[in-house]
């Protein structure tokens, strides 16, 4: 877009916000600087009026540190208290009922709700003292169950570990969003997930797809993952969860030890990997995650 067009758009927007028509004269700034300052002016005006708008700009890092500090002070935000961030994804666009329910449970004076887009709400909670991951998981699960019960709508929740101060929330936001993305690829059966619970999925998610293709080819050749049926996949998952223990896996799956051994033998014949051996188990887990990442269409 040309400079003149952008300038006019920003001046129109400023007029909408303030009701005053501005024009430029004796402008000592260059074009880029002019547009930046006008944008800042619009944001500042909106932000001065609306704490939620400021919090959204803060989380998405649209304003600089100096500006954040000054506005956090003007909104009397406790910068030094521990804070947590809970990222809520609705299956369909949320409505005012969702906002009402959330406000009624949590968003008192020191908690804040930010509307990211029609399907995502962010809850920022200020704590009196630091909370453990387990406590945070309980809070997130409570929010999930309450929203689903009251609204009868499907909700997924991602959260990060508690931040020691307000400024750490920018990082928490990035982590919670990443956790939601990773959940949507690797943990589809999990409705509430913490960034710290992503395990190898977090690592694999950061890899380019070419590297995944190469790894799978190096270790499994042209193996077709469709050959691993649902039952075998479940067996593998439980076997990994139970620390490669045959006895505990058989107990968890309610199958005889010999049935489990038969399934593992069958998998070895199919893939060449004996997941009773630690190194093969690691290779299998990584390859399965990489395969899921490859199937996912996100860039």
């Amino acid at each position: 877009m040309e400079y003149e067009e952008q300038l006019l758009e920003l001046l129109d927007e400023l007029q909408k916000e303030t009701g005053i028509r501005f024009s430029l004269s004796d402008n000592a700034n260059d074009e880029h600087e002019t547009l930046r300052k006008l944008t800042k002016l619009i944001h500042r005006y909106r932000g001065d009026r609306n704490k939620a708008f400021f919090l959204k700009e803060f989380l998405t890092e649209e304003i600089d540190d100096k500006e954040i500090k000054s506005r956090a002070k003007s909104f009397r935000i406790n910068e030094e208290a521990p804070w947590s961030l809970i990222y809520i994804e609705f299956k369909k666009a949320y409505d005012t009922e969702a906002v009402s329910v959330l406000s009624s449970i949590y968003a008192s004076g020191s908690d804040h709700m930010v509307e990211e887009d029609p399907k995502h709400l962010i809850l920022l909670r200020q704590h009196k003292k630091s909370v453990t991951d387990e406590e945070l998981s309980d809070i997130a699960t409570n929010i999930h169950d309450t929203l689903e019960t009251e609204l009868m709508t499907s909700v997924k929740i991602a959260y990060d570990t508690v931040s020691s101060d307000f400024y750490g929330l920018q990082n928490s936001f990035k982590h919670a969003k990443a956790a939601m993305d990773i959940r949507n690829i690797f943990h589809l059966g999990t409705d509430v997930i913490g960034y710290h619970e992503l395990g190898l999925g977090k690592l694999v998610y950061s890899l380019p797809k070419e590297a995944c293709t190469e790894f799978i080819h190096d270790h499994l050749g042209d193996f077709d993952f469709e050959q691993i049926d649902s039952e075998t996949r479940h067996t593998i998952n439980v076997f990994f969860e139970k620390g490669l223990s045959i006895a505990e896996t058989a107990r968890e799956l309610f199958v005889h030890r010999n049935t489990l051994v038969y399934r593992l033998d069958k998998l070895e014949k199919l893939t060449g990997l004996d997941i009773r051996r630690f190194s093969d188990a690691v290779t299998m887990e990584i390859a399965l995650l990489m395969n899921e990442l490859k199937k996912n269409n996100t860039p």
Partner: protein, 370 residues
């Protein structure tokens, strides 16, 4: 209230994982149905598909004969109650129960009527002005149920409702839920991983494993006639004992050899083993702990079903004693009378109640005799 029909319901995730496979069930009006099974068996996923919180990959869900697959969850006339009930801390019990109706803009008079009715059913009528922090754990749980009741739904779905409660409160709430079912005359589907909860609450139980329904029956039938090894082991506590047994057929007589003992199989079960062609084959013999007897009178009357054991652990539970021993490569538990003289380290004779034994195919794990 409502009848529910699930026909060939499946849930497939994009990564190929099949959480639920061909689930078929007809639920009658006012039934109390339990979905039970180990973690990851698909019970909660099925419940969420009924609620509309998960999409159904294939199959048909009908409520009162109406196809529901693409009906919005809000419009299914269903209420869900979860284990993690978050009561609104600054609201009274009345407002907590009324909240869902208020946000749906139900008339004030109607809200008052419904909340008072629900409070009466739940014995909360004297607590309506209290805040959640002034309530006990059980009372809070009842308020959570009250929030569902005031909606007057056709169906109640309850997911692991009592899992967060301590053992004593859990027993108390089980009784409350049973009473509630009687008072409301409601259709209830209740999900649990706890077989005791399933056995005490349900009129029918659906046992699931790996996304597949294993058996649907009343608690009594599930306990006495399990269809396979999984159901036999999952239902009942302590669980059924399983011992490998070699079958020998001689005319119409059949014997089962377990370790050093050869036991005579009763006629009806013998016929099933003969008809199934199990002569000379090894099968799995199942026997519940209470069907192993150490009293002299029973042993004297059952000379063809006696085994010798050395007691490894003696456990007194007050009204009963558990005796643990190893037999033919299996760990066995016997539930006996507390007047038993058996102690840890003793050599003890046990007689098996052969009318109560079960036989399972070693490969398919399906029942041979039920």
């Amino acid at each position: 209230m409502a009848s529910i029909s699930l026909k060939d319901i499946c849930k497939n995730y994009p990564n190929g994982f099949q959480a639920v496979k061909n689930f078929n069930l007809e639920i009658q009006d006012k039934e109390f149905i339990i979905f039970v099974g180990p973690s990851g068996c698909g019970k909660s996923t099925t419940l969420r598909m009924i609620a509309g919180l998960e999409d159904i990959s294939s199959g048909e869900l009908k409520i009162d004969g109406k196809l529901m697959n693409s009906v919005e969850p809000k419009d299914r006339d269903i209420a869900m109650v979860f284990q993690n009930y978050a009561l609104y801390p600054h609201m009274t019990v009345f407002d907590n129960m009324a909240f869902g109706l208020k946000i749906r803009k139900v008339d004030k008079g109607e809200i008052k009527k419904r909340v008072e009715e629900a409070a009466k059913i739940l014995d909360l009528d004297k607590l309506l002005d209290r805040k959640p922090k002034a309530l006990s754990g059980g009372q809070r749980q009842r308020v959570a149920m009250g929030r569902a009741i005031v909606r007057n739904p056709k169906v109640f779905l309850m997911d692991e409702l009592l899992s967060n409660l301590d053992a004593k409160l859990r027993v108390q709430m089980r009784i409350e839920i049973s009473k509630l079912h009687d008072r409301l005359g409601a259709t209830i589907i209740y999900v649990t991983h706890d077989q005791t909860e399933a056995m005490t609450l349900g009129t029918r139980i659906v046992v699931m494993k790996d996304g597949v329904v294993q058996q649907i029956d009343s608690p009594q039938v599930l306990y006495s006639q399990p269809k396979n090894l999984f159901v036999a082991g999952f239902i009942g506590s302590p669980q059924m004992n399983f011992i490998d047994a070699k079958i020998a057929v001689n005319g119409s007589d059949v014997t089962a050899t377990l370790g050093n003992s050869t036991l005579k199989v009763p006629a009806a079960k013998a016929k099933a083993l003969i008809d199934g062609g199990y002569d000379g084959k090894t099968v799995i013999l199942g026997i519940r702990p209470e069907d192993l007897h150490d009293d002299q009178a029973f042993i004297a009357n059952s000379p063809d079903s006696v085994i010798d054991a050395k007691i490894r652990v003696y456990e007194l539970l007050g009204a009963e004693v558990f005796l643990y021993f190893d037999y033919a490569g299996s760990q066995v538990t016997a539930r006996v009378d507390p007047r038993t003289t058996a102690k840890t380290g003793d050599d003890v004779k046990f007689a098996l109640d052969m009318e109560k034994i079960h036989f399972f195919d070693k490969d398919s794990e399906e029942t041979i005799t039920n």
